[in-house]
Subunit: 642 residues, 2 copies
């Protein structure tokens, strides 16, 4: 144990590996090789450091796995805190620290509930039975393919930390292994196999078949990663747990929060057509292949956040309507596709088509444009010869429609953005077909979605199949009667939806992702490491994050971590579409002369963006009936023990 | 009196007249005529309403003045509150309400301190003696040219309200009459003359001569409007009083806040040359005339705010260094001049000049530009053929230098903005030579200044004489070691200036301008009208202003007033460079069953901008050693009387 802790305490930024992993996904051929090299090289250095043959022997075949995982989750002390293992307390049955790691004999298995034995005489367990074993107290069971494993004794030895492996407790480890490629090795199975206690009834196929059989529009929704915390199932909405959220600046696809308003549509990439139309122009259609070949591919590293992120804090003040998101309805990816601007310019250059154009009222004014004062229709032609432009008097908004449809009303999801954002050279709006180097998943909009960097998530329409250049905003429910904020005194009887603009850029926000609320702290540890994210709308970079351990009475700046690949440095005035991760290690209160300690510690964080906007102190002043754009100081209360 | 109140209570938006006045300044020929027509027409309507010949007789020659002024300051009840005249109390010697208005006999004059008599036997008073008469209690004296007038009895009759005329108390009325053109009529002198009590010793020339005689760099600073509240004299810094600040969406030039860092330079418009240069380009020079004739004239309605506005609230928490601005270091004007973008593009198109260009490190990347991948130097040439552009690898910042100079160090005032803002088609950065239709005054940068809309005032360099397109920010003190904000824990020993970016766009803010703090309130009035402004950086329009009368426990939205001429409507996502004025009338607390009242009322306001940024609740969390960008909720405490 001591030695394993030495391994895992090797200090490396926790986000290196996922970034590496992303690079590897994009270059699959070299993945195994590079990962192995890096792992072995780290293991070698460690061996030299320890200068003991027993260490090398201990690590043995699992060296690459252990070393890689130590990069991913460097801080074991934190993991222990999350698990609730305090200095002085003991995990259920710790493995002897000086002996080679070998699984203890499995505990007497729970009753297999009359399901019989498999062909090797092992008991057969139902998935319901497995799901009962999620904690050290109830013992920790997981499944892999058709095997059931009691890994209670391995939890403390997991190089990535106990808290991470416990996320898989009571279910399959496969989705987690898929997420972190270092698990995809024969050695890992060698470590797992001795913990096998039985066989899973029917295997994973059973659950999928049952869902498919059910006759409802959500029955064919895709499977979701079990680490996601579901906030609703019909439609599915799930957020990323705090401990995974800020572990890496790029959020792995499978645990990226999912915000669905309607059932997931299942689209055929071959048959897919994007329709692009505008007032006073002919409509265009593009297949996915045409989009990919006719326009240049661009990549943008951007954070996407649900407008209702952190809504649960608003509900705590006064009930609001909406999903009870904690701070995990946010994530960051490298999105790739074609620029909306390029597609819209193609639209304009196709000319006016057959419609007769009449000048709109009020009269056309182009006093700030270099176009000479021709008659109005001539001017419009001249403008559009170079493609759709911001001066176009017929186009103020770009409307997006998704293929997700309400079966009852026939409504499709829709939203719009101002044409200035859509056309700006530095607006970076994408029609994306890739997320972190992979084709979009079904939950994230396959085959095509909009990504509007710096704008609230609701405008990044998934399953995009229609674009309209218009004088008007989208008329959809979600543009007109949702995703707006009002004075705290406005209620559902008095709300006038037209009185507030649709939320586009969201305000500066930040959140503490580690430690989680309620994590017991030990004053004897002397200090605590706090991690989180900060982000602002409009591409305004994060200038500073302040952290308080006394509820906001005193503050110290946190260390801002390097930006994700492709993003500008923290504090940039513009183009900072991605969040900034931060961390800080601060002292815990010391006992006073009589040995007394405050019973709890209240951690608080607040961020400042490049426009020197900061966050409001409390939720009450920004409370609104829909519980959106909560960006109050983020508070986490922790009990303090001696 | 009753009749006069009827006149002045005619409800008209208080900001109409200054906007009109601005239009008139731009078209001086028609000014007197239009103003007269408007005034007479209102007077005619009023006469019809009153149906009494005595009314017409009473108003007589002064009709135009009175009616015009009633447009300017519609709410007499408010003016009375400001004056401290409560219902039930009486002004010193009210004129009988039913008798024609005629000045009472002057009170026995104060001693003329042995200055003798003028040629008509009237006593001669010194300006010091006049300055002692500023209140109703001490009697209200003013001067006009060489006349001294005791206008105590006229104060209550002033159509614009007592509070406005009291601003001139103890000094000359001329600067105020210059501000509001309706005073520039013979009729006004006819009203004033009967109040004459004596003659001013030496007249106004005496003070000016005394200043010129003093030998210091500030001796030749221009005269300032006495309504400005001086925060320092060397250099001069003065702010606009709250009651005038939000009286109109366009701030009159003479009372626009003045922020000088150094002595005012005195420049000759004929000899003036603007030098424009850049790395890798030949320098250009423009006379004022060349700027005006070679580039198109543009006008932008923009608010300019000092970065230290509202600093006095920060000092109240903990001392900070800087001028003790209240909420008046802000103002809005229509600025006219040439676009910086146009001038910079001219710079680029002049070519590379004689300097040899070497590609900078790191290597030039233009992956997002449509320029083909030529060798680096060729690419630069291609880029610059169309003028300086954002993709230019040698230019990241545009540096401005003023002609104002520190005589000791030789430093000139300087600042810079990112090139993206300078070149953006919708950035609207001007090299301005006019302010509200008039040439710039000496205090506001004659003959040429920068106006950077949506950016903090410190970057709108006055007395501009040099522009440099550079890879680097301005190295000036004001860019590098000032106008930055830090964590509240950072003090003058620990500050690292390089750790924070120079403030460009400021955060959303708002302030209550009326009533002023300490104004006594009468619960018997039943309600109170509250006025103020709200503004945000980056062109983000104001979506909403919330007002509280209970210190921030409950809120109601205020009414947003129409935007100033040339500005987009409130709530616009972009291009909203001008502030939004607001007002609301709210009920005052009613006595409880036992007749008791809360002793005071705490008014609070907070605004939300188009990015849904809001203001922090308190000052403590944003306190910083320089006391800049204070945008906490604005609070005004008022005593409540029965």
């Amino acid at each position: 144990m001591v030695l394993l802790q030495s391994v895992s305490r090797a200090k490396r930024p926790g986000w290196l590996l996922p970034a590496l992993s992303l690079a590897l996904q994009q270059n699959a051929g070299g993945a195994q090789q590079l990962s192995g090299e890096r792992g072995l090289s780290t293991a070698t250095a460690m061996r030299e450091q320890q200068s003991g043959k027993r260490v090398a022997s201990l690590l043995g075949a699992g060296a690459a796995l252990l070393a890689s995982a130590s990069l991913l989750w460097p801080d074991r002390a934190e993991a222990k805190k999350e698990l609730g293992i305090l200095p002085g307390s003991k995990p259920a049955q710790p493995a002897p620290s000086s002996a080679p790691v070998k699984p203890a004999a499995p505990e007497p298995a729970a009753k297999s509930a009359g399901l019989g034995k498999d062909d090797k005489g092992r008991p057969i367990y139902s998935s319901e039975e497995v799901a009962k074993h999620k904690t050290l107290k109830d013992r920790v069971w997981v499944t892999f393919k058709d095997g059931v494993y009691d890994i209670t004794e391995f939890v403390e030895m997991h190089p990535g930390g106990a808290s991470k492996i416990l996320m898989a407790a009571g279910g399959s480890v496969e989705p987690f292994w898929a997420l972190y490629q270092q698990h995809r090795k024969a050695e890992v199975l060698n470590i797992l196999e001795p913990y096998r206690i039985g066989t899973l009834e029917g295997g994973a196929a059973a659950a999928a078949a049952a869902a498919a059989a059910a006759k409802d529009p959500y029955a064919s929704d895709p499977a979701r990663h079990p680490a996601l915390i579901a906030r609703s199932m019909r439609p599915y909405n799930g957020e990323t747990p705090g401990s995974l959220l800020a572990a890496a600046p790029i959020t792995p696809n499978d645990i990226f929060f999912t915000r669905n308003h309607l059932p997931v549509p299942h689209l055929d990439a071959e048959a897919f057509r994007l329709r692009v139309e505008g007032e006073g122009t002919r409509a265009l259609e593009f297949s996915l292949e045409e989009l990919k070949t006719r326009f240049r591919k661009h990549s943008v590293t951007a954070t996407v956040q649900c407008t209702g992120n952190r809504r649960n804090e608003m509900s705590a003040v006064k009930p609001v309507k909406g999903l009870e998101w904690d701070q995990g309805a946010i994530g960051t990816a490298v999105w790739s596709g074609v620029r909306l601007r390029d597609v819209l310019r193609a639209l304009g250059s196709r000319g006016l088509g057959s419609r007769v154009w009449r000048p709109p009222a009020p009269a056309l004014t182009l006093c700030c444009s270099p176009v000479p004062r021709l008659p109005a229709a001539m001017r419009l032609l001249a403008l559009r010869a170079a493609g759709l432009s911001e001066e176009d008097p017929l186009v103020k908004h770009i409307i997006f429609e998704g293929a997700d449809k309400d079966a009852t009303t026939g409504d499709v999801y829709g939203a719009s953005i101002p044409v200035s954002k859509a056309l700006a050279a530095d607006g970076d709006v994408l029609l994306a077909y890739e997320m972190n180097g992979q084709p979009l998943s079904k939950d994230h909009g396959f085959p095509l979605r909009v990504i509007v960097p710096g704008v609230t998530g609701a405008r990044s329409v998934k399953w995009l199949n229609r674009i309209v250049a218009s004088q008007y905003e989208s008329g959809s429910h979600w543009q007109q009667r949702d995703y707006k904020s009002f004075c705290p005194s406005v209620d559902w009887d008095s709300v006038e939806w037209g009185s507030a603009p649709a939320i586009q850029e969201p305000p500066v926000t930040s959140a503490i992702t580690e430690p989680a609320p309620g994590t017991p702290l030990s004053a004897a540890d002397g200090e605590i490491t706090i991690r989180g994210y900060a982000w602002s709308g409009g591409g305004r970079g994060i200038v500073r994050v302040d952290v308080s351990t006394d509820g906001g009475r005193s503050w110290a700046p946190a260390r801002l971590l390097p930006p994700p690949p492709g993003a500008p440095p923290p504090g940039s005035y513009s183009g900072a579409w991605a969040w900034t991760l931060w961390e800080t290690t601060v002292p815990l209160p010391k006992p006073s002369a009589d040995g007394s300690l405050p019973p709890a510690v209240e951690l608080v964080c607040k961020a400042v963006d490049a426009s020197y906007n900061s966050q409001p102190d409390g939720v009450a002043g920004i409370w609104n009936l829909r519980g959106v754009v909560n960006n109050a100081w983020h508070r986490v209360k922790l009990d303090l023990e001696p």
